[in-house]
Amino acid sequence: MSVFDRSYRTYEGELKGRWYKIWAIAKSTFRVQFSGKKAIFLMIFCNLPVLAFTLMLVFMAIFLPAGVGNLVLGELFESLDLALYLIIMFSFNAGSIFMPTVFIAALNSGTISNDKKHNALALYMAKPIDRLDYGIGKFISVMMVSSFVTYIPWFMFMVSFTLLAGVSGAEFLQTFWVYFAAFGAAMVINLFFGSITLLFSSMTKQSILGGILMILIIFLPSVILNSVNMIFQQNWLNYFSVSSLIASSVYVLFGKPSAGSLLGEAANFFGFNINGWVSLAILILISILALLLTIRNLYKEDISG
């Protein structure tokens, strides 16, 4: 094998700017993190509530007569916001928050730690990017991966509902805000989970360790506090439960679901007596703090060890 078989034509074009490079990092990381059967299996498993609801819609639309179908859909699901709100609660209540947490931790915990473990940071950092660019690229990737247990399945449900539940044009326009409210809720959840994952990923070279720590930090307080609260009945304790913080934040973003309906009653099952705006602020503040600590870790990282 000889070198110089052909003449070397150096790249003489223009180099793209900062955001192009950040996007290149995000895409590259996403392809690495969200690949393989493990990711697909986890994604399906974590989205079982939304899949169940969507399939129910599909079967009703197929097998029930139009009048009965509309009646059941109207009675059961009532409105898009209420139906979606319940789906989110099914996925993120104290008991089930474990699964999306596992999904996000399993697929994202290696985002930075694998680069550190394989010394790939040396390859990245010698390119014309700074550590902030690298961190932003990784964060975008984490947000994209996390969307597979938040906005993407929700969007799938919302579209199915709109198409199958006999929603009229006027009704669609009236419920169009739900798409944005869902997007907002997804962003808050992704931001929170993503920033915590990124922080743990930046703290260790062992992605599994980072993932386990992230799961424990998010899942355990929710479970323990819910158990404790059954005895002490102290509402303020809910501020220490991630699932309660998410539930009340989403509640704020969606507005109060109608309590008179069947599902409205069910929604109250997920009732919480903490302030939604305060919950939202806590989630965002924790996320910002986690991101700042991640950036700090990246800037202090001694690659050669």
Binding site: M1, S2, V3, F4, D5, R6, Y8, R9, T10, Y11, E12, G13, E14, L15, K16, G17, R18, Y20, K21, A24, I25, S28, V32, H118, N119, A120, L121, A122, L123, Y124, M125, A126, K127, P128, I129, D130, R131, D133, Y299, D302, I303, S304
Partner: protein, 312 residues
Amino acid sequence: MKSYFIETYDLNKWYKEVMALNKLTIKVDRGIVGLLGPNGAGKSTFLNIATAQLRQSSGEIYLEGQEVWNNPGILKNIGFCPEQEKLFEWMTGRKFVRELAQISGIPREAANQAAIEAIELVGLQDAMDRPIKGYSKGMRQRIKLAQALVHDPQILFLDEPLQSTDPIVRRELVTLIQKLGREFGKDILISSHILHEVERVTSNILLVYAGRAIAQGNLSVIRDLMDKFPHTIRIKTPQRKELAQILFDYDYILSIELDHLTDDYMSIRTKKPDEFYQMITKIAIESNIAISEMTSPDANLESVFSYLTRRW
């Protein structure tokens, strides 16, 4: 354009209590320069600081007159071939270089072509669509070199690029590095702890030891420096005891050592090598001493290095 591409002033780097770089002050000339030092001398730390992966504890470092840390603008001009062998194992060579090309800012549509060009340059085109996990050590060195070259940087930092390569690949890489320096006009800093590797590539060297620059310049300059200090010459002769008796009469002979493992080798240390070389020929003729081999380990870069580092 300045005549040197790297300048450092009192550059220090501590890892907690360990000092990796100790007031390193250098100006590196353009062209191909070898960065030499034993393991732990601070070579990799220096390269990591020069490529913005580490921040110095104190002191200043400039590439092309610009600060390095947190300055992506200057990083456009550099390519770095790191020492580690673990890469993105699941990727093919082409994809690996293409992704890093995009992170360098090359547009998506041009990145593939730029990657192929760089891979062809390092002679890896036959294996570019195979996953990196199946690459040999030599192939890994070449794909790392390709990713360093893909955005056509002016400055190349090569950390132990010839390590673990077989003689044929090594010769090709040496040719390639020389070509990049001489024909493409790139400024290259190549680090190694194996001195004869660098000696093949360049005679312009920078010696570091214990985090300090102990010598810099052309190999011959360093040899001149070395000539001020004792010089070792190894001689093979069946009459080594007779020769030793004669040499003891000369005051510039510092020591004579007979090799314990062989019967016919001896090592002589002198502070005036030029006079010794003139004299030894005369002695051989006048005293009828058969000298079948005479080598100076000091002529090799290895001994320059070990000699100079021993003084610290």
